[in-house]
Subunit: 334 residues, 3 copies
């Protein structure tokens, strides 16, 4: 999606180089990503408090616009917004006026007119959040909660937070991403974030049918074979297998897939002894990952979930700050 | 619906002549409507604040009872209630106990017993909110969010607020309402409000098939022809065309309808140069209104949306005050 | 369900003998139940205040996990949690990731990782809330909102609160429960609570086809005939008839059922003159209860609804306190 990401830096940063939308990892610097991780760290502490609430977004309205259903991601954004004291609107797109023939653009302009401050957007179409961010007024920030095969930047950042917690830094790390790279917006965002943050080597492990044609241009080393690809890695990221793909003839049977690309305890032994195992969830146990590994001592899968709330709190509050700073600067100019 | 509105004044006002339910424009005086507009004006300012919240309904519970689906109206009531700091319950009627054979009346008594303070009611049946207001305890206020073909009073009041913002006053104004008057609760409430507030002339423009038989008794001047009806008006209100009507043989094709009753830039030139264009939304672009007009300099369609939140905040808080004043007076009597 | 309830006392109480989950009446002492009723009494007052909110659960997150739809019970838990100032997540199970093949256990672990503090669980399977309570971390409390035919303890406690309000005490009371005992989790919990709280006699009145085989072991006196069973009782509790049962050949027609086991004014005369009439709702008027009785002076059905909010506030806040006390004690040990 290079044409999509070309102008994004301008779009998602304000004049002070602060986050103002959060659409993609592309175009963000190591410092930008590190700022997000550092801010998320402060919210980790909030989650363990007795009163898990801070007033940063009090009186702000966050609308969850999920054009593609996802209870899990929607729930984490809802919780993140509520713990920042925002009011949350869940708009069920399928029953809303768009189904009465209203255009998407009219619906968004209406939400702007209701003084909604942030749109959290998930869409099956790559680029939809960019399109929305380009068209909104200066009083709205857009957060990408996953668009088509393009990007899932908050998922990538929660993964980065999890890696930093367990490994201290990115320098010198070798990370393997295993599974359906072709259809994965998660993988695209992870690869970019790992490269920007300075990982030593990012590997992808998949059959050729599940790799994008231009995958090497992403800055990865490609492996078709798990035993070679897992050799000596610090981090193993398993992707969720969309079972629908099975029928598309891109894949052999589930059991065959597990034999070749599933993560078992035996295969995990090829990685470093202190390697961590990650998965964005929900898990298909016995398809891409063995239960013994998912629930084992090297798994940090549930840490990722906890970090998901903190990263989303960070991104929501930072984009809101960036919006406010930009508005204030606009007013001074006038 | 004259039989319906005959007793409403008694029903929707308390002994101090204050709003206590909000069911219809009928029976309200110019002063009542002006009070609503003035109160809404104060909430416009709240919507532009950094913290868009006031504690007027803190600790109160507002239940949205939408027997007819409407994401847009439900959302604006939900936002209005939340910005007044109320707790909001969205009751999905189709899945609630009424589908298990519980009577409507039992469901409402249950909500009363849960100490819900306000019911926001939308219903396909004309008069449903009146029926409910007649049966509730003194501890509940009912707000009509649209009933059948009868009334949509908050929509009418947000339109009045928008007109007053742009025209300063109602005296001397000529307002044209264009489209499907026959099926429009919005038009009925607008006509009444405009007459009470002192507009000079209210016109309706529609084919005879889309006009109620007794339309002249509403206090309007009837036009079948747009070029005559728009001549010299200050305000043009376009109604939404329910596309379902097309099939009912009440209407020719969409393109034919647009040719005759759609608002184009050319037709708009017949109105005063500073005329404003309104529409309750959602818009059918190219059916009842041209995009160039909907997005043009005379359109105040998005202002209507913003004003919708303010008017609903006004009505919710005023009806709650009216309820409290009445309860206090009841107690003194005892 | 004796095997289910054997270990529950250990499960639902913390080391200080305080409620920490609320799964069943079984294993709780008269003192435990009285504590719940006394706490609920204090919340009755909150419901009648102008600001119906207390900050007891501020910054806590309560997730409603309704695997079986129930707008009414879900609404009362949602209101109870909001009036305690908690954040509430309604998880629609049918559309959540469990339908994408995620296991229940993975879904719950994810919610724990999001720092959700309480799960309110309704499930068609008897024992599901127990199963969940056994598997959660020490940072989650589980409240049973009805499981299969097993238990509905908050319903039983709101009924006990209603009886105590009207009768002052349980000593010396004769209570009749009428209808489909066989399928009723409500009846099971009521019978247990009445016996623990010291009612003189608990009667069940039903045809043999609607009685569990071991019903006498519950500590009740069995009647097949209403005129004998209602003789001299202080409290009549009517159960909701699941109309689906009719087709299962367990029952004659609705009118035949009403003739034999419905509560009419005439039959009610057999009870004490000051007997109260209860029903968990929603009511099937004319099937298990006559409208004249349901709306009559002896009916306390709507009081039950009001008490339902207070009891749920009590149970939520007590279980949260029990959780916190246990966590604090755990930390001291370490």
């Amino acid at each position: 999606m290079p044409e999509l990401d070309e102008h994004t830096p301008v779009l998602q940063l304000n004049r002070f180089d602060q986050l103002r939308h959060f659409l993609t990892i592309d175009g963000l610097s190591c410092q930008h990503l590190t700022d997000i991780l550092d801010t998320a760290d402060t919210f980790i502490e909030v989650g363990s408090r007795s009163i898990k609430k801070v007033p940063l977004l009090r009186g702000k309205t966050v609308a969850n616009l999920f054009f593609e259903a996802s209870t899990r991601t929607r729930t984490t954004f809802e919780l993140a917004a509520k713990r920042l004291s925002a009011d949350v609107l869940n708009i069920n797109i399928s029953t809303s006026a768009t189904s009465k023939g209203e255009s998407l653009s009219d619906m968004l302009q209406n939400l702007e007119a209701m003084a909604v401050d942030m749109f959290v957007v998930r869409h099956a179409q790559s680029g939809a959040p960019h399109f929305i961010a380009e068209s909104v007024t200066p009083r709205v920030s857009v957060i990408n909660a996953g668009d088509g095969r393009h990007a899932h930047p908050t998922q990538a950042m929660l993964d980065m937070l999890t890696i930093r917690q367990h490994k201290g830094q990115f320098n010198g790390l070798t990370v393997a991403i295993v599974g359906d790279i072709l259809h994965s917006r998660v993988a695209r965002s992870q690869i970019r974030a790992l490269n920007v943050l300075g990982a030593r080597e990012v590997r992808v492990i998949a059959p050729d049918t599940l790799l994008p044609v231009d995958v090497e241009s992403f800055g990865v080393k490609v492996f078709n074979d798990m035993s070679q690809g897992l050799e000596g890695v610090d981090v193993v990221i398993m992707l969720r297998l969309q079972k629908e793909r099975m029928e598309g003839a891109l894949l052999p049977s589930e059991s065959e897939f597990f034999r070749l690309y599933g993560l078992s305890e035996k295969k995990l032994k090829l990685a470093k002894p202190d390697a961590i195992v990650m998965h964005p969830g929900p898990i298909n146990r016995g398809v891409e990952i063995d239960s013994a590994v998912a629930d084992g001592p090297q798994s940090v899968i549930l840490n990722e979930v906890t970090n998901g709330i903190a990263v989303r709190m960070a991104v929501l509050s930072m984009a809101m700050s960036g919006q406010i700073a930009e508005l204030a600067a606009d007013e001074e100019v006038i």
